[in-house]
Amino acid sequence: MLQIKNLYVNVGDKEVLHDINLHIDDGETHVLLGPNGSGKTTLLMTLMGFSNYTVTKGTINYNGEDVTNMHANERAKRGIGMLFQRPPTISGLKLGKMLTAISRTKQENIPELAKSVHMDKFLERDINKGFSGGEIKRSEVLQLMIQNPDFVMLDEPESGVDLENISLIGTTIGTLLEKDKHRANRKKSGLVITHTGYILDYLDADKGHVMCDGQIRCHGNPREILKDIKQRGYKECLECRHT
């Protein structure tokens, strides 16, 4: 589904990502771990096509098509979607209006979907204005439910969310990623940034990667990597130069 080759990315004049290589197959969910400031969000924003993130070298291939230079909306139309960690507040734009605008089929029952993530009372509120951490994440999940992407990127879906809502968000994201289907029948893929690993209880992740200083340093079983990091921190990862 997604193939990243020798990707270098600048934010402004500064090179932030160096030689990223990543392959995610249909139906797979990968986890991206790494210390703060290591470049994880930069990678997701680059994959989504935000203009502040300039690819200076390398390619992003999605479903056999080179999307490296495509605008974000063209990528979204091809099935790429993202849950933002800190989405912008848009004054005056009501969440309900936005959901109607992004609905591709115009068939979705927006009030019902909103109710399922406890956001039905927010449809007339300005998007993200005064939302708590958990409300932002539920709003993001709701937008993704309507967008229904094939490749879902999740930037710290559990940050700022209380334990009760992690279960709701986790289960809903699990459904988006077809975790309710048998592994062989899953087509949707995901790339998840997490620090705590709580979200992994719902996502049944296939592979894990550790990013340090803008490079992916190692790959492996996500739970094992997380266990190592919990025990030893990122110190060894930072020192490790093997990829």
Binding site: G49, F50, N73
Partner: protein, 371 residues
């Protein structure tokens, strides 16, 4: 049910312009109408019990006491505009009276249509007696072919009595060669509410106005909301003023201004003269193409216990907001329009649905032409 308004002498294009300025010729969602074309009053009626819509001349024939409401809030010597209107031997315009306890949910529409090269003058008096509730939509427009241009001079005096409410929604739909000089003032008594809404999304040569609400009564309320777009060549010098005199009086002055190359001067003044009064002034401006948005918010408090605040911001569309919507599948133009739409979306508390829809429809019309 009031009758359908016939305007046989108007072309289809001009009838469409009336509709765009909020006039419902079929009268489906209106309880009364006043239509003045140039200096001719063509229609004045109201089917709502307790509410009268009269031409200025007829009203003064009928009610001698109206002299107590004539030029009481605005001085005829105030400026060239008021002098011109005061000098007219045959004054035009309308008088709307909501008698004690009456109310209308379907608004009254007042339409002032300028079809020839000239100065159209009106003097309007609007009275909501004790406990009455009165909703008015005023659509002001000009013919599609007003040769060299024209001007509209309008005096409006609003009287909101004890426990009464007036909402006045003015939609301007002029053209590049028209100058408009409304002069209006209102006085609001105890527990009275005055809502004044102004929408101008279409080109105009010049608009200059500074309506003033004097909140005399205890717990009286005034809310001014303006939603405007200035196209190249348009000069919009807009303001609103609230004078807080009654204990517990409060005012809110809200402006959303967009320039696409024109000039907007957004003035505002709240004067808190009594303890226990509150006022907030807010002007948000978006510069889409080089033009001018000049916000001049003034708050003036002279006693302990008045609370006044203001907030003014002028900026551009935020790239991260546009790209956020693009990441959900909207193209750049759709994302931009969606954000502008949100920016202009001022929901006005206490406004009947039909009027809010009319404001939304004006924004829809502007959106169709790509803002």
């Amino acid at each position: 049910m009031p009758s359908h308004i016939t305007t046989p002498e108007l072309s289809k294009v001009d009838q469409e312009r009336l509709v765009q300025s909020g006039i419902d010729l079929d009268m489906k969602n209106r309880c009364g109408s006043f239509l003045q074309m140039d200096q001719d009053v063509v229609h004045a009626e109201c089917s709502q019990e307790g509410i009268e819509v009269l031409s200025y001349a007829k009203a003064f024939e009928k009610y001698a006491w109206l002299k107590d409401y004539n030029w009481k809030m605005i001085s005829p010597d105030k400026d060239e505009v008021t002098k011109y209107v005061a000098a007219q031997k045959d004054p035009k315009g309308y008088v709307i009276i909501a008698h004690k306890g009456s109310s209308n949910i379907l608004p009254i529409q007042a339409c002032l249509f300028l079809g020839k090269d000239q100065i159209q003058h009106v003097h309007n008096i609007i009275i909501a007696e004790e406990g009455a509730e009165l909703h008015i939509i005023s659509g002001c427009t000009s013919g599609a072919h007003v040769g060299k241009g024209g001007a509209h001079y309008g005096i409006s005096e609003f009287y909101v009595k004890k426990n009464a409410k007036i909402s006045f929604t003015m939609i301007h739909n002029w053209s590049e060669n028209i100058e408009v000089y409304p002069r209006s003032a209102s006085v609001v008594e105890e527990n009275g509410v005055f809502l004044s809404n102004y929408v101008c999304m279409q080109p105009v040569k010049k608009v200059q106005m500074y309506p003033t609400a004097t909140l005399k009564g205890a717990n009286s309320v005034a809310r001014f909301s303006s939603i405007v777009i200035a196209t190249p060549g348009s000069l919009m010098d807009l303001g609103s003023r609230a004078i807080l005199e009654g204990v517990g009086a409060s005012a809110e002055l809200i402006t959303r201004a967009i320039t696409k190359g024109g000039t907007i001067i957004s003035r505002g003044h709240i004067n808190g003269k009594t303890a226990g009064t509150r006022g907030h002034l807010e002007c948000k401006g978006l510069i889409l193409k080089d033009g001018v948005i000049y916000a001049i918010p003034e708050i003036e408090g002279s006693v302990v216990g008045t609370e006044l605040s203001h907030e003014a911001a002028v900026g551009k569309l935020a790239k991260d907001e546009i790209e956020y919507l693009m990441s959900r599948g909207l193209d750049e133009d759709e994302a931009t329009a969606t954000i502008i739409r949100g920016f202009l979306d001022v929901k006005i508390t206490g406004l009947p649905e039909a009027l809010q829809k009319q404001i939304d429809a004006s924004i829809d019309e502007a959106e169709k032409s790509g803002f």
